[in-house]
Assembly symmetry: C2
């Protein structure tokens, strides 16, 4: 597997190629133009892509449709990825609606929300946007394999997050995106990413005049 920073750039290149495709762009794109749109220098673009194969023609650039399909295959974006959310509070509900909206509107958006989980009896049994059922957290162990959930999004309070993650790992989850502002521990085979708003704000604060 390639380093994470390379994968982050590939995901960016794919999004740019999908934006161009949707704008009915030209057939070819140079590493310079792709780089300019991604904020990456053209040599880096060529180096990143060369890790995965020979996609461009010298002096002509990359054929947009072809490169897009290749990147989709590399990033597993050429199939539907099932996602579930644990913790259907303020943030969970905003993310759930966002995912549902994008999946129905954009033909390239691969993430399908298939379930939600919560421990609040007042929420369990209801449906988000009349389509996605909120299951009790106690059912996570059987629902995860049954619904073939690929990625779990965690939007529970920080002090509940590790217990939820442990339950999900035992049920066989492979990838987690955590929003709770706390360090979580998972075994090496589980991929864990954070989206930590308060940590981002704290980092930005460092760059302000003291």
């Amino acid at each position: 597997k390639a380093p994470d920073v390379v994968i982050r750039r590939l995901a960016l290149y794919l999004r740019i190629l999908q934006q161009i495709d949707d704008e009915e762009g030209g057939r070819f794109i140079s590493s310079k133009e792709l780089g300019d749109r991604a904020g990456v220098n053209s040599a880096q673009v060529r180096k990143d892509l060369a890790l995965f194969g020979e996609f461009g023609k010298q002096g002509v650039g990359y054929e947009i449709g072809y490169l897009r399909e290749e990147l989709r295959a590399i990033l597993n974006a050429n199939r539907t990825i099932n996602v579930a959310i644990v913790g259907v509070g303020e943030l969970g509900i905003a993310l759930a609606r966002y995912n549902l909206r994008r999946f129905t509107r954009e033909k390239h958006y691969p993430f399908r929300l298939v379930a939600a989980f919560d421990n609040d009896p007042a929420k369990v049994g209801r449906k988000i946007e009349k389509t996605v059922e909120i299951f009790p957290i106690s059912q996570l162990p059987e629902r995860l394999p049954e619904l073939r959930i690929d990625i779990l999004i965690i939007t529970v309070p920080a002090d509940a997050a590790q217990a939820v993650v442990d339950l999900a790992v035992k049920a066989g989850v492979r990838a987690i995106l955590n929003f709770a502002p706390t360090k979580l521990f998972v075994p090496p085979k589980v991929r864990l990413h954070y989206s930590d708003v308060s940590l981002e704000l704290q980092q930005l604060a460092y760059y302000l005049e003291s």
Copy 2:
């Protein structure tokens, strides 16, 4: 200024020290224990902190209260940081409420939401949680210096984000946290961070079995 990856870890160490303080922990902490809680090896902890000064005693560790205050000073977390949100939709409103809640409840949380901006006439003039006024986006140029806004959070649609950022940069903003899934361009003196949920999901997808 230290590299971004170091600052990200310092922010993590600070949060851990604040959690210990709130739990009325012991007076000292070793680089090993701080490292274990942060998921970082102890040599890295010592190296990070040594960039900023001599904070620990050989064999004894770091005095929790002292190190916490030093990290707060380094990260500008020892003063209130004024934050504003542009785009008061699903995500903007969730983030606004979250910030207001943490600022009132936690004595260490330095981020105060002082304003919100939108271009929807139906939203302008209303108040979030009866306290934070939603100004028209056209007023950003004068409100930014007037309210001494340090950090701007961008939660507008992707195709509106660059224009909003250009307006904010002209008004003198120093730091931006962007949630719109698009690459933004700012001059070197403006610090720009992204929180891009769809990019995170795309990266996680790479690690699933093909």
